[in-house]
Symmetry: C2
Amino acid sequence: MSGLVLHSYFRSSTSVRLRVALNLKGLAYGYVAHHLRKNEQRSAAYLALNPQGLVPALVLEDGTVLTQSLAVIEYLDEMVPEPPLLPRDPTGRARVRALTYAIACEIHPLNNLRVLSHLKSVLGASEDMTAAWFRHWVVETFGALETMLASDARTGCFCHGDAPGMADICLYAQVLNNRRFDVEMSAFPTISRIFEACSALPEFAEAAPDRQPDAE
Amino acid sequence: MSGLVLHSYFRSSTSVRLRVALNLKGLAYGYVAHHLRKNEQRSAAYLALNPQGLVPALVLEDGTVLTQSLAVIEYLDEMVPEPPLLPRDPTGRARVRALTYAIACEIHPLNNLRVLSHLKSVLGASEDMTAAWFRHWVVETFGALETMLASDARTGCFCHGDAPGMADICLYAQVLNNRRFDVEMSAFPTISRIFEACSALPEFAEAAPDRQPDAE
């Protein structure tokens, strides 16, 4: 696959996910930044490309626009099978997807920028209340995730075996994001160990916010 | 597949999703109810089965526990290929997954029972503020979803072509859920049309909350 263009924001954790996946697959891509705090993702031009007005989006060489980070990661895994981001056995695939969605459906949607802004502007939440909200939903799910990882023999150096996959990608992006709200990680040793294993790989490290062209 | 046991709550919209998928695949299942308003999903016995303490979970005949509705639906689609819940072409699959995640990652996580309870108990939101919160996140994403469906020739009687799939399952469960908060649907004619097409099928209708053994 060539001629890929990624619409991204350096700090967006769903953008981090997709950058890691592209790096793991060895795919080069052009980078278009949209500054979320300036609402650039709500411009008419970008809404024509992605009606949800969210990053990331990946534009293929033929102009096809793919949205929603996990849908794009599944697509990349189908089109570029090596290295696999999901195991080969259906039960293992179900496990990795469940770990993935634990983060992608139970933590991230509650804690992204537009939700935190809404809490402040509409519900009158203070900075402290907003930070407590962020930490609450992380801790709620990370407690269960820690158990799911620590109690299962299929967990290896990474969430499932000894190679990184889709669940590790979401875990990495979430733990990076947590740092902005000082989430205490000592109760989550397995998650922390896997995060460190991810961080040691250049495909992950190079996808981090501070390595992007639009980093502040 | 036989000997399946579904852990469910009649009103849970992720449970609705999984019941529809099981019905579409023609799979019979035993039904174990967990009353979310009584916190039965937080019992020690259920937490041993699913550390997240969420419904649904599907237990296979060999005792394997599958969690997270979308992970289970993908598993069912891999194990029982007919009728397919995802298209055969990778770009079509990416589209259906993006439509699915628009609902599953941008609406439902913000609007489930535990989040609405937290808004009231921790942030002091009133019933009216909580209902407005629910409607806000539905309308925000349904506006984009309506555009994504109405502007794409791949939309047919259902979200993608003329047979129901994973995106329709999530759309159906979400629209059912909306009724409890009086979401005005006139701005979403394509979504409404697809909801009606789903409702006309027994596999969907029989998965609705009021048809479950634990319905109140």
